[in-house]
């Protein structure tokens, strides 16, 4: 049959049974929407959660020097480990594989601007802290830099909410605030970010100043914690081991004592979450796929009916010399056209729904669904496979008809 005749035949088949056609195409459309939307929502949720987990830091390790839990070299357990900035400098220089590291000291201080006075959490850190903790300045500002640290400048990087609280709608950068009685120049404001976990207050309400300035201002010598990361997230665990061993030698504690320095490796959280989301997405995908399979069964039934109705035609064609392959291809192609039509409608619909949901402002809770190319390809491949299987068996039955019997129908 020529292509033109094929489409005419297909059109006739589809039009003579409008309801049946509609239900078939609808079944496939529905299945496609189910697969692609479920996966799109899953991906949206995953991206949203990953983004807000990254609010704390991009796969960093946070370490707190605390007390020994094992006796070592004649000293009983319970000894406090006290660390200073130079210990961090030593780690940076002597431990291989440190991509970034920064000490952190923090306390609560009074901040005053004009008549407004607020108690603010203040952290003293090194410049590398900003990138590690995803503290990105808004336009027109900057984070603490090496010169600030070296010269003990009285500069402050402020969280976006506390900035709004103190300065209102005014541009905070360049303003001078009183912090612990000393004047500090605001050099930058935090760009708003999602953050779902923290260890010393949310970044949006914090002040960050150079560690050197912090020490001068408060007279403190020992740091509260330090954060670091390896070149790649996978290397964090081994880096932590090297850092613990180095510190054990330097600070004289048992290297197997995991309480002397307490560690929170946030990559574990990411790993857990990635695994969880993978399982979740597989679950969603399977649910959607089952819906699609049900649609495919519908198509297969329809094609069985079509083959039945056209048995005589098939017999005649065979008598005129049509080979089994020709008949098979004809019915298979019809099924694939139905599937493709339903699938295209489904993908368009899913795409539209994704766009619509993005405007509902649900981003912070469930994230915006993302119909990624990967999802589209996966859906298309599933559709093609299901269409092929749905069409193959009726088409094979058609191709196996005996022309003598078929013509007598």
């Amino acid at each position: 049959m020529s292509l033109q005749a094929f489409f005419r035949q297909l059109g006739r088949d589809l039009v003579t049974q409008k309801l049946r056609t509609f239900l078939t195409v609808f079944g496939i459309t529905w299945g496609t929407v189910a697969v692609s939307l479920l996966l799109a929502f899953g991906l949206g949720l995953q991206r949203q959660q990953t983004r807000s987990m990254a609010g704390l830091g991009d796969r960093i390790v946070i370490a707190w020097p605390s007390r020994t839990s094992k006796p070592w070299q004649g000293v009983d357990r319970g000894r406090r480990i006290l660390m200073r900035g130079e210990d961090i400098l030593f780690l940076e220089r002597s431990v291989p594989g440190v991509a970034a590291i920064s000490p952190e000291m923090s306390t609560e201080l009074k901040a005053r601007w004009g008549t407004k006075v607020r108690a603010v959490r203040v952290s003293g850190v090194w410049p590398s802290y900003g990138a590690m903790r995803n503290m990105i300045p808004q336009e027109g500002g900057r984070f603490i830099d090496a010169l600030d640290q070296a010269r003990r400048r009285r500069v402050v990087f402020v969280g976006n909410e506390i900035a709004g609280d103190l300065f209102g709608t005014q541009d905070a950068v360049g303003k001078v605030v009183q912090l612990g009685g000393s004047p500090f120049t605001v050099i930058g404001v935090l760009q708003p970010k999602e953050q779902d976990s923290a260890y010393s207050g949310r970044d949006h309400s914090k002040f960050v100043i150079p560690e050197s300035t912090f020490r001068a201002l408060t007279g403190r010598r020992y740091l509260d914690d330090f954060i670091y990361k390896a070149e790649r997230p996978k290397l964090n665990a081994s880096l932590t081991l090297r850092i613990r061993n180095t510190l054990a030698r330097r600070m004289h504690f048992d290297p197997s004592d995991d309480q002397a320095i307490q560690v929170w490796d946030t990559t574990e959280m990411f790993q857990f979450f990635d695994t969880f989301m993978l399982a979740f997405n597989v679950f969603l995908g399977v649910m959607g796929l089952l819906t699609l399979v049900v649609g495919g069964i519908g198509v297969s039934n329809i094609m069985n009916v079509v083959v039945d109705e056209r048995t005589r035609e098939i017999g005649i064609k065979m008598a005129l010399g049509a080979k089994g392959r020709t008949i098979l291809l004809q019915f298979l192609a019809e099924t694939l056209v139905i599937t493709a039509a339903g699938g295209a409608a489904g993908l368009l619909l899913a795409f539209g729904i994704c766009r619509g949901v993005s405007h509902l402002g649900l981003e912070k809770t469930i994230g915006n669904p993302v119909l990624s190319p990967g999802i589209a390809i996966l859906t298309t491949v599933s559709l093609g496979l299901i269409g092929f299987i749905a069409g193959y068996f009726p088409a094979r039955d058609a191709a196996r008809l005996d022309p003598v019997v078929a013509m007598k129908v």
Partner: protein, 240 residues
């Protein structure tokens, strides 16, 4: 008139001695599980190129079975069958389809035209399966329809044609692949006397043009036109 087979080099295919049909000891048994029905019990039949043979006999005598075997729609249980010199008895389905396409033109009692296609497309159908390029297909189909007197009906659907016209479309379709053999199964069975005799004249004309014609019929008028009559009874050919 110029019929397609007349235009061809009329030399017989090699090794056939001009024989289109050569059947030796053909048996056909339908095995329905418990009962075995012997439809044909040893048929020997030879038809030379250019013959016009009428096959007659009562219902159940095996005429239709014989026709199905002759047209390669079915395979014999036993025996040897050479169609234009080609042994077809043991062929698979696709092989048989190809032989039908190239060598046999069918004319059926109930026309067996595809109702959704135009007369032209119906005639094109065998050429489509035979892989004839579309322009050639179109040209030849148009010419054949003109030759059967339907030049002004090419775009009509079968439902828009009379019975006689439909059968003439079917004859044109049978000629499309320039077959060695034209098989007609009660070609006038569904027609009134006038269109029946029309179709009969057309078939006779084909034969005069060089066609080899085997017609299965009850119609005495048709059978009497044939120079050779083969009578069947109980799955055997009987002498007259």
């Amino acid at each position: 008139m110029n019929w397609p087979f007349a235009q061809r080099d009329n030399g017989a295919p090699e090794g056939t001695n001009g024989r289109i049909i050569e059947m030796r000891g053909i048996q056909k048994v339908y095995d329905t599980g418990k009962i075995q029905v012997e439809a044909l019990r040893g048929i020997d039949l030879t038809v030379e190129r250019g013959e016009f043979v009428a096959v007659v006999g009562p219902s159940g005598s095996g005429k239709s079975t014989l026709l199905n075997l002759l047209g390669c729609l079915d395979t014999p249980t036993e025996g040897k069958y050479l169609l234009a010199g080609e042994p077809v008895a043991g062929m698979d389905r696709d092989g048989l389809a190809e032989v039908r396409n190239r060598r046999v033109g069918f004319v059926f009692q109930n026309f067996n035209l595809l109702p959704q296609l135009s007369a032209l497309e119906n005639v094109e159908m065998p050429m489509l399966f035979g892989g004839v390029p579309s322009r050639q297909r179109r040209e030849r189909a148009r010419k054949l329809l003109e030759q059967v007197g339907l030049g002004d009906r090419v775009e009509h659907k079968p439902t828009e044609l009379s019975g006689g016209q439909m059968q003439r479309v079917a004859v044109a379709r049978a000629l499309a692949m320039e077959p060695d053999l034209i098989l007609a199964d009660e070609p006038t069975g569904n027609l009134d006397t006038a269109s029946g005799s029309d179709v009969l004249s057309l078939l006779t004309e084909l034969w005069r043009g060089g066609a080899t014609l085997v017609v299965v019929t009850h119609d005495t008028a048709l059978a009497e036109r044939a120079p050779r009559i083969v009578e069947m009874r109980d799955g055997r050919i009987v002498d007259r």
